[in-house]
Symmetry: C2
Subunit: 412 residues, 2 copies
Amino acid sequence: MSVELALEELLDSRVADVFTKDELREKLARSERERRPLRVKLGVDPTAPDIHLGHAVVLRKMRAFQDLGHTGVLIIGDYTAMVGDPSGKNKTRPQLSYDEIEQNAATYKEQVFKILDPERTEIVLNGEWFRKLAFADVLRLASRFTVARLLERDDFEKRLAKQQPISLHEVMYPVMQAYDSVMVRADVELGATEQTFNILMGRQLQEQMGQERQIGLLVPILTGICGTVRMSKSIGNYIGIAESPQEMFGKTMSIPDRLLAEYLRLATDYRPDEVERLERALADGSANPRDVKFQMAKRIVAMYHGEESSELAASDFERVFKRKEAPREMPVIGLSSKDLKEGKIWIAKLLRLANAASSNSNALGLVRQGAVSIDGAPVDAGRPDVAVKSGMTLKVGKRRFFRIEITNDTSD
Amino acid sequence: MSVELALEELLDSRVADVFTKDELREKLARSERERRPLRVKLGVDPTAPDIHLGHAVVLRKMRAFQDLGHTGVLIIGDYTAMVGDPSGKNKTRPQLSYDEIEQNAATYKEQVFKILDPERTEIVLNGEWFRKLAFADVLRLASRFTVARLLERDDFEKRLAKQQPISLHEVMYPVMQAYDSVMVRADVELGATEQTFNILMGRQLQEQMGQERQIGLLVPILTGICGTVRMSKSIGNYIGIAESPQEMFGKTMSIPDRLLAEYLRLATDYRPDEVERLERALADGSANPRDVKFQMAKRIVAMYHGEESSELAASDFERVFKRKEAPREMPVIGLSSKDLKEGKIWIAKLLRLANAASSNSNALGLVRQGAVSIDGAPVDAGRPDVAVKSGMTLKVGKRRFFRIEITNDTSD
C-alpha cells in the first residue's frame, strides 16, 4: 500500500489528533523502504481488565497499524499498579497484589485478541525496567523534567488553581510513561485525547535520550451508554467486548438516539463512506433511528461474536422486546432436589445460584422493586419462598432470562 | 544540670531560631528521666570537606549538646554527592566518584574532631539507606509530600517567580533530607537558617511515619572575611580550621571592624557575658577595635591549635606587620646546587618549588604585581633570574615567608 493510502487509512475520522502528520508520513515511508515495521505503543492499566467499546476505539486503531504490517506493543503497567496510589486519594489507582495483577493481565490478554492480531503483538510488563531502577537512576531521570512543565498537565493545572493538593509521586507518573516509550523504542504512541500531555513527555524524553521522537496519535473518548459521561467500568455505563451477544445487543439498543452518529463512527468497523451514508439518512429522515440502531447493534455483536451469534441475538431481542417472549436460548439454573423444601426455594437463594444478584440483600431488593418474575408472574416480596418446577422461566430485570432445571439428587 | 540551665546553655545568642523551645524542654527532661541521650543530627556535604569557621558555628552547637551527654549524629550525604546534579545546572553540587567521596569524608572526619567529641559522635553515610530504595519505595515516599508544599521553599519560590526552571529531581532533595531524619531517629536537627524548610519537612515526615518530630535548631550564617557575603570555600573568603596558626591569625586580623561583634559572638567560645562586655567596650570607645581583634584572633587560634601556637602566631604577626620583619619560623625551600645556574634560579621555578604559585604564569604575574621580594628587595620582572644564597628570605604577598637553603648535591 502506498504511504499516502496508509496515511489516509490510519488518519480517518476515528482520530482526534496527530502530532505530527508529516512525521508519521516520514516514518511510514522509511518503514517501507527499510522493511522495518513501526513499533506502535499503547499503555494499559491492569486495574480494570474488562475491555469495553471505549477501549476498543484505540485498540482497533492499533489493529489498523497491524493490518499494514506494523507491530503493536502493549505495555501493561504492572509496576504502577503494584504501587497504586500510596496516598490513597486516587480511587481509580488501587494498590494491587502480584496475584491480582497476574490475573488481570491474563484476562486482559484473553480479551484483547478479539481485536488485535496476536502475530503482530508484543506484550511487556513495565516492571521489567522499573524494578531495576535505583534511587540514583530515578533522580537522573527526574532531572530531565522541570516541575513547571509537568504541572502544565490539564488536571494538575486545574487542581493547582483550585488549591487541591498534588502529591509529589503523581507528577512522577507522566515521567514513567515517557520512560516506557524510551524502553520499547516506540515509533508511535496511541491514546485517548486525555493522554496528549503524557505522550508529549515521551516525545521529549526520547529526543533527550538520543532516540527519534514518537508520533502521538489520539483517538476520541467514547460516551457511555448513559449518554452523559465517558464510557467507564466503574460507572457501569459500558458495553464489554466479552459480554454475551444478547447483553451487547440489548445495551447497544439502549443508547439514546443522539449518540447514534458517535457510535457509528467510533464503535463500528463501518467504512467512513458507510458511516457518512447512514448519518445522512438519519439527518434527512430517510432512515428511522431505531432501524439504524438495530443494524448497528447487529454489526457490533458480529465484530466480537461473529455473524451467526449476531443474528441470534437480534432475533432474541425482537422476541423479548417486541413480543414480550422469552428468548429461545437461556442459561440454565441447575437445582438439585436437595435445594428445595417442599418444592419451594428462597428467592434470594435462587437469584444467587443464577448469579443474578451479588448478595441476599441485593436479591431481595430486586424482588421488592418488582424486577423478578417466574413464568411471567412477579414474585411477591412478602412471600419469598417460591414453588419451582423444571422448565419454568426466571426473569430478572428487563433482559435476563434463566431456565430452571431440577435434578433428583440421590447421592449420599 | 537542670533542664532549665541546659536550655539556657543551648539556646544562647548563637541560635537564630528554634522550633520549638517547649518541645526541646520536654525532650531534655525526658532524656534526663530515662537516661537516654538525645540524637542530634547534622547533615554534611562531602563535596567540600574543608571545615571553616562558618561550619564551626553549627558544629560547636553540636558539641554543646555532646557536653551535656547527648549524641551527635553526622550524616554524610554520600549518596546525594554520587548523584550530583544530573542536570549539570547546579555547580555547587558536582558529581563525585566513590573515591573522591571516601577521601573527602576522611578529610572531613579528621577535621571535625577538632570540634566534636569523638566518644559521642556517630558518623553515617546516607547511601546506607538510599541504596536500598526501589523505585516503588521512592514513589511511596514521594506520596507523602505535596508539590505545592515543596515549592514553598524560599529558593524554589524565587525561581518560580522569575520563571527559572526547577528540575523535578531538585524537589526530591528536601524529601531525602527529611528521610535521613527518620532513618537516624533524630531528636534534634541542627542547621544554618537556610535549612529551616528542609528541617520542617523532616519534622512532618517523622510525624507521618509514626515518630516524634525533631526539634529544629538554627544557627546564624557567618559573614566571610570579605565582609560582604557568607563565608564560603568556593568564594575563598574563609578561615579554615585546619589552616596554620599564622594563616588563621592573619586572616582574622584582616576582617573589617564592623564584623567584630558578629565574630566575637559566632566564631569564638567566649561566654555570652564576655561577648557582651567586649561589645560594650567597643561601643563606648573604651577598647580599641584593633586590640579586641588581636585578642580575638589569639582566642580563635587557641581554640583550634592550643594556647602555645596561638601565642607564637600572635608574636609572629606583630613582628611581620608591626616591625615589617620576617617571622622567626618559616617554611624552608630546599634547593640543590643543580637547581642553580651560575648561582641563579628562574624566579618562577623558585615560587613553584615553594608552592607559592600554581603555575609559571601565575608566578610571573605575582612578580609583575611587585608581590615578590628576596631579602626585602622586590624582584624585577625584567630580570627573572635571581641570585640566591642559603639563609635568604623569600617573601610572597603580605604574609608568606620562606627561607632558602641550598645543599651541594654530589650524587650521580
